[in-house]
Subunit: 208 residues, 2 copies
DNA sequence: GTTAATGACTAATAGGCGTTAGTATAACCC
DNA sequence: GGGTTATACTAACGCCTATTAGTCATTAAC
């Protein structure tokens, strides 16, 4: 792709700095409530200069989404090959939690898209959600259904995914009431502890 | 539950119809991405006519929030008086799920506020989230901590609340992949089944 | 050393935004 | 019936929006 011999932090290209700024702003306010003037302001250039790097606002948004999707879909891809085991689901869940914790922007962008639509929403579903449910069917095929009720299973997949993402998207609402930074290390460990506990409880639960 | 003497559709005041329209639109797009022109359009009047009923955009938004908060805080108020039991938590959860299912707009508005801020956000936290954690402390005081680890308890409260709300806010992302309307009656029953199962599993779970 | 391309800039467009002022019409009170 | 109130309207404002055109300096190619 591009060869950069020196460290990339000060030498980030303008396009990358635009993408970084746009990602944060789109994630915070959503597509239509984010103005190109805001983006340009963060980067430190004038608004029309953005058009030297991206065709228009929608293309910039698309580029932001694409970069995020690529960086987030690797844990699931590793899974999709083989048959799924209990431990693999555990691992995938932990990886996903840590990933969303490290960069909350994809969850935020997804939440905005789910609420308000906006460009590329269908593509978003296809590339992020559809594969998740293909994998979940693989568990079913394995012989041991995740739950007592098998047709509850996709709902469980949805629930756990929502759990991970809503932690990120709702965090500001709880940070006061929990008395600590939701994106700090201790909070991450507590969240992991809880979600693993929930998953184990679900696996161990049989009818009733 | 509610007594409707006459059919309320034609006899609603203009202010109420504005509130209805604004609620849907704010819930869908958030505060800043919703225009007063959109609201007026749905109601069927011209934009400046809105100012005969509400001081400005922010006041309209505030009125929408207030109406929703009032109608949603009753299940929790019933709980706060007495000591909390397992069955009461169960009941509260079911009530809350049904309520958000019947009107998803509060969850959507909350999600927008958590992501993007906007007016009245602090008030929103105080009136909706703070009471929930006061109640949860009452369980702790009761002698039987909800979880093996007691300082995990507010995190569990947050998790279950997120579970209920994210179902509503993320529903459009899953409706295709689940193959049914997320706000239909069968979907509601499945969601209830799953969430009750999760709660029971948490209650029964002891260490490990 | 000229040429070509890159990427910043200013200026300007058309349309949408929230909001205000002023006006007209219908329904009420006494 | 005259006066008051409520509620709709049109016209207009200043600001913000995405986008385009055109200009100029720096950089890379041959």
């Amino acid at each position: 792709m591009e060869e950069k011999l020196v460290e990339n932090q000060p030498s980030r290209t303008t396009s990358e700095r635009i993408l970084d700024a746009a990602e944060d702003l789109f994630a915070a306010a959503g597509y239509s409530a984010t103005s190109l003037a805001d983006v340009a302001d963060v980067v430190g250039i004038r608004t029309p200069s953005l058009y030297n790097h991206f065709r228009n606002k929608e293309a910039l948004y698309g580029a932001v989404l694409d970069r995020l999707i690529v960086s987030f879909s690797s844990p699931l891809e590793e899974l999709e090959q083989n048959q799924l085991t209990y431990e693999q689901v555990f691992e995938w869940l932990e990886k996903t939690v840590r990933q969303h914790h490290a960069n909350p922007n994809l969850a935020r962008l997804l939440q905005h898209a789910a609420l308000s639509g906006g460009p590329h929403t269908d593509e978003l579903i296809d590339r992020l959600f559809r594969p998740m449910f293909n994998s979940s069917q693989a568990i079913e095929g394995g012989g041991t259904p995740l739950l007592g009720d098998t047709d509850l299973q996709p709902w469980a997949v949805m629930a756990f995914n929502n759990l991970v993402m809503s932690y990120v998207t709702m965090a500001p609402m709880y940070s006061d009431v929990l008395g600590q930074d939701p994106f700090g290390e201790p909070a991450l460990e507590r969240q992991l502890k809880l979600i693993k506990m929930l998953l184990r409880a679900v696996f161990e639960y049989k009818g009733g």
